[in-house]
Amino acid sequence: MPPIDTLYTSTLGAFEAAHAGFVQVALAVSAFLFVIGALGVFIRRNVITVMMCIELMLNAVNLAFIAFSRAHGTIDGQILVFFVFTVAAAEAAVGLAIVIALQRHREDLDVDSFNLLKG
C-alpha cells in the first residue's frame, strides 16, 4: 500500500488537473456561505436562527478545509472537519438546551433582550 499522499497524486492527479478550477470555486462558495452565516448572526434576532447561521458558518469553514485539503493534496483538512463536526454537535446540544431554558424562563428568544453579560 503506497502512502496516502502518493495515492492521491497517482490516482487523483489526473482528476485534479482536469478540475483545476475546483478549489477556487469551492473557496468562493465557502466564503459566500460564511458571509451569509455571519450576516445572519448579525442581522437575525431569533436565537434559533442565529444558531442555524452559526452552523452555516461552521460548514462554510468545513468546505474551505476540504478545498484546501484537496489543493494541498493532504488529508489534514479532512480530519479537522471531523473535529468541527464534533464541536458543532456539542455546540448545538448545549445551545439548544440554553434555548429551551430561555424559552421556559423568559418566554422570549430575541437575542437583544439577553444582556446578562453586561459589564
Binding site: V41, V111, K118
Partner: protein, 679 residues
C-alpha cells in the same frame, strides 16, 4: 595603675562620660522621681556627676603635665577609641580626643564653673516643677560642651558644637509656656544655623583642600606647605572666613549677635553657664585652636580683628541704655567676646583664651549675682526698680563687687590682667583697633558701674517692700515656708519662675551663695595664673609683645574715668544728667535703644525677603506649579481613566450580536495584519 600615662588616656573619657551618665539617669528616671516627689535626689545626682567630672578633669591636667613634653614644650595626648568614626575613600576621622593645655584648661573651666552653677541651680530652681528636666538639659549641655573642647577633629568638635546649640535652645525656651521665651529659643537656634552653615562649609573646604579635619594637623605647620600652591584669596582665607562665620554665630559677634540678648529669657544660671562662661566662648576656642591656620591668612585675621573690635564697641554702647539687669550683662558678654576676637585677630590667641577664662569667672559670678538679686526681688529684672540692695543682700553685694571690679579692670583683679594684654596686643597691631578697645574699656567701666550703682547703691526704688510693709520682717520667712503650696502656678508667670512663694527682699540661701564665693575668689585671683604661657604651645603662635610700661596706667585711668562718670551720674552729684543727655541727644538715644537697628534690619530685610519668597512661592510654585501642573497631571490621570472606562463600558453592553461583531472585527483585523505582513 595611677601612672600619668594611663590617667590621661582614660580620665578624659570619664570626664565626658559623667555628665552624659547624669543626663541619661535624669532622662530615664526623672519622670518616676517627679511622681514620687524625689526631685532633690535627681538634682544631687546631676550635680555630683559634674563634680566627679571636675575632679577627673583635675586628674587629667595633673597627668598631662606630668608627661614628658613633646615638640615646642607641648604636653599633649590623643586618647582614641579603637575604631574610626568615619572611614570613606581614604578619608578617616577617628574617634579621638585631643588633650593639651588649651583643651585641658577649658575642661577645668567647664566642669568647675559648671559644677558651681549646678549647685547654684539647686537653690535657684528649687520651686520649679520641671527642675529635673532642667538638670537633665544642664548635664547634657556639659557633656556636649566637653565634646566640643576635647574633640580631636573639627568633625567631632562639630558634634559638640551642635549639641550645645540644641541644649542652649532647650534651656532658653525652658519656660516655653511664655511666648517670649519660646520665641527667644527659636531665634537663638535659627541665628546659630546661619553660623553653622558657615562652619560646615569651612569644614568641607578644609577636608577637600587640606585633606584633614584633625585639629592637631590643622594647627601644626603641616598644612602650611599647601598654602604656597594657592593665592591670597586661596583656600586658607576661605576656610578661615567660613569657620569664622560659624564662630560669629556661636559667639554672638556682629552681625549674628542678635540672639544672645534675647537668650536672657532662660533661667539665670543658664545665662551664666551657657551664655557667658562656656558655650558662647566656643567660637573663641575654635579660632584660637586653629590659630596657626588663621595666621596664614592676613585677610581672615583682619576680618576677625575688625569684627571683634566693632562688636566690642557696639555692644558696649548698647549696654549703656539697657535697664534690664540681665540685658546689660548680655551686651557686656557680647562686648567681652568681641575683645577676645580682637585679641585673636591681632594674633594674640593665648591672650584671648586668657580673657576667656577670666571672663568666665567674673561674668558667671555677675550673672549668678544678678540671679540672686532677681530671686530676692521675686523676679524683678528692671534696675529702675532696684537700688539699695547692699544692705538687704550683703553677700550677693560683696561677691558682685568682686566681679564688678574684675570686669572694669581694677588693678590686680583678673580682668585687669587679661584686658591689659588685649590692649597691648591691639596697640602693637593697629592704632584704630587699639583706640576702639580702649574706648570700649571706658564704656565697660561706665555701664558696669551704672548697673552696680543702680542695683546696690542709693535707696530702694521698687514697690515690693511697700506691699509687704505691714507683714513685718518675718513675712519673708513665712513666705518661704509657704512656698510648697504654690509650686505649680509659678512656672511661667514671671521672669525667674519664682512666684508668690517669696515675699519681701531676702538674701539667697547658702546653696546659692557658696558658688558666688568661689567664683568671687576666681574673679579676684585667676589673673595671676598666666594662662597665655600655659596654652600658647598648643596654639603654636608665639607673639612677642612689646610691654609699654604706661599701658596698665592708661587702662586703669580709662576704667577709672568710666567709673567716675557713672558714679557722678548714678550715685553722685550729676543724677539729673542721664535724663538731660537722653533728651539732648535723642537721636543717639534712639539709635542705642534700637540696638543700632540690627533687629529692625533683620526684621525688614529677612522678613520682607522671606515674605517675598513666600509670595512668589504661593503664586508660582503653589498655585501654578503645584495646583496647576502637578495636581493637573495627577487629577488628569484619574479623569482619563474615568473617561476611558466610560467609553470602554459601551463595549460591554452584554449584547450577543455586539460581541459577535467584535469577534469578527478582531478576526478580520488579525487576518489583515498577517496578510499585510506577509505580502
Amino acid at each position: 595603675m595611677f601612672a600619668p600615662e594611663r590617667i590621661v588616656m582614660v580620665a578624659p573619657w570619664m570626664v565626658l562620660f559623667m555628665p552624659l551618665f547624669g543626663f541619661l539617669v535624669l532622662a530615664f528616671f526623672g519622670g518616676l522621681a517627679k511622681k514620687q516627689g524625689r526631685q532633690q535626689g535627681m538634682m544631687v545626682i546631676a550635680t555630683s556627676c559634674v563634680f566627679v567630672s571636675f575632679a577627673l578633669a583635675l586628674a587629667t591636667v595633673w597627668g598631662l603635665m606630668a608627661l614628658p613634653a613633646g615638640d615646642h614644650g607641648l604636653h599633649f595626648v590623643q586618647p582614641s577609641l579603637p575604631l574610626d568614626w568615619i572611614d570613606v575613600a581614604g578619608f578617616t576621622i577617628p574617634l579621638a580626643l585631643l588633650i593639651d593645655p588649651l583643651s585641658a584648661s577649658l575642661m577645668l573651666v567647664i566642669t568647675g564653673i559648671g559644677f558651681l552653677i549646678h549647685l547654684y541651680s539647686v537653690g535657684y530652681m528649687s520651686h520649679d516643677e520641671e527642675r529635673v528636666r532642667y538638670f537633665s538639659y544642664l548635664n547634657l549641655f556639659t557633656f556636649f560642651m566637653l565634646v566640643l573642647v576635647t574633640g580631636g577633629s573639627l568633625a567631632l568638635m562639630f558634634v559638640g558644637w551642635e549639641g550645645v546649640g540644641l541644649c542652649s535652645y532647650l534651656l532658653i525656651g525652658f519656660w516655653f509656656k511664655k511666648q517670649s521665651a519660646s520665641d527667644a529659643g527659636k531665634k537663638a537656634f535659627i541665628v546659630n544655623r546661619v553660623g553653622d552653615a558657615g562652619l560646615i562649609i569651612g569644614m568641607a573646604l578644609a577636608a577637600s583642600y587640606l585633606g584633614t579635619l584633625d585639629l592637631m594637623e590643622l594647627s601644626t605647620g603641616a598644612v602650611a606647605g599647601k598654602a604656597e600652591a594657592f593665592g591670597v584669596f586661596g583656600p586658607f582665607t576661605l576656610i578661615a572666613i567660613a569657620l569664622f562665620i560659624g564662630a560669629c554665630g556661636k559667639s554672638a559677634q556682629i552681625p549674628l549677635h542678635v540672639w544672645l540678648p534675647d537668650a536672657m529669657e532662660g533661667p539665670t544660671p543658664v545665662s551664666a553657664l551657657i551664655h557667658a562662661a562656656t558655650m558662647v566662648t566656643a567660637g573663641v576656642y575654635m579660632v584660637a585652636r586653629l590659630g596657626a591656620l588663621y595666621t596664614l591668612s592676613e585677610t581672615a585675621m583682619w576680618i576677625v580683628a575688625v569684627v571683634g573690635g566693632v562688636t566690642a564697641f557696639v555692644a558696649a554702647t548698647i549696654a549703656i541704655v539697657q535697664n534690664d539687669i540681665k540685658k546689660v550683662l548680655a551686651y557686656s558678654t557680647v562686648s567681652q567676646l568681641g575683645y577676645m576676637f580682637l585679641a585673636c585677630g591681632v594674633g594674640a590667641f593665648g591672650v584671648a583664651v586668657f580673657h576667656l577664662v577670666t571672663h568666665a569667672f567674673f561674668k558667671a559670678l555677675m550673672f549668678l549675682g544678678s540671679g540672686s538679686v532677681i530671686h530676692g526681688l521675686s523676679g524683678e529684672q528692671d534696675m529702675r526698680q532696684m537700688g539699695g540692695l547692699r544692705t538687704r543682700m550683703p553677700w550677693t553685694f560683696w561677691t558682685f563687687t568682686a566681679g564688678w571690679l574684675a570686669i572694669i579692670g581694677t588693678p590686680f583683679f583678673s580682668g585687669f590682667f587679661s584686658k591689659d594684654e588685649i590692649l597691648i596686643a591691639a596697640f602693637d597691631h593697629n592704632t584704630f583697633l587699639f583706640g576702639l578697645a580702649l574706648l570700649t574699656a571706658g564704656l565697660t567701666a561706665f555701664y558696669m558701674s551704672r548697673l552696680y550703682f543702680m542695683t546696690f547703691m542709693g535707696e530702694y526704688r521698687g514697690t515690693l517692700e511697700k506691699a509687704q510693709a505691714d507683714h513685718g520682717s518675718h513675712a519673708a520667712h513665712a513666705g518661704h515656708d509657704g512656698k510648697a503650696d504654690n509650686q505649680a502656678d509659678n512656672q511661667a508667670d514671671d521672669h525667674g519662675g519664682h512666684g508668690q512663694g517669696h515675699s519681701g527682699i531676702h538674701e539667697s540661701p547658702a546653696v546659692m551663695l557658696i558658688p558666688l564665693f568661689v567664683l568671687a575668689i576666681g574673679s579676684v585671683f585667676s589673673g595671676f595664673i598666666h594662662i597665655p604661657q600655659f596654652v600658647e604651645p598648643a596654639i603654636r603662635v608665639e607673639e612677642a609683645l612689646s610691654h609699654p610700661a604706661w599701658m596698665p596706667f592708661l587702662a586703669t585711668a580709662v576704667a577709672f574715668a568710666g567709673f567716675w562718670v557713672a558714679y557722678l551720674m548714678y550715685a553722685g552729684a550729676l543724677r539729673e544728667m542721664p535724663a538731660k543727655l537722653a533728651t539732648k541727644y535723642a537721636g543717639l538715644k534712639d539709635l542705642l535703644d534700637a540696638k543700632w537697628g540690627f533687629d529692625d534690619a533683620y526684621d525688614s530685610f529677612v522678613r520682607n525677603g522671606v515674605n517675598g519668597v513666600v509670595d512668589v512661592s504661593e503664586r508660582v510654585l503653589w498655585k501654578k506649579v503645584d495646583a496647576g501642573w502637578i495636581d493637573g497631571v495627577v487629577n488628569g490621570m484619574g479623569r482619563l481613566a474615568v473617561e476611558l472606562s466610560e467609553g470602554g463600558k459601551l463595549l460591554q453592553n452584554g449584547l450577543v450580536r455586539g460581541s459577535a461583531l467584535s469577534i469578527l472585527a478582531g478576526a478580520v483585523a488579525l487576518l489583515s495584519a498577517i496578510l499585510w505582513a506577509q505580502r
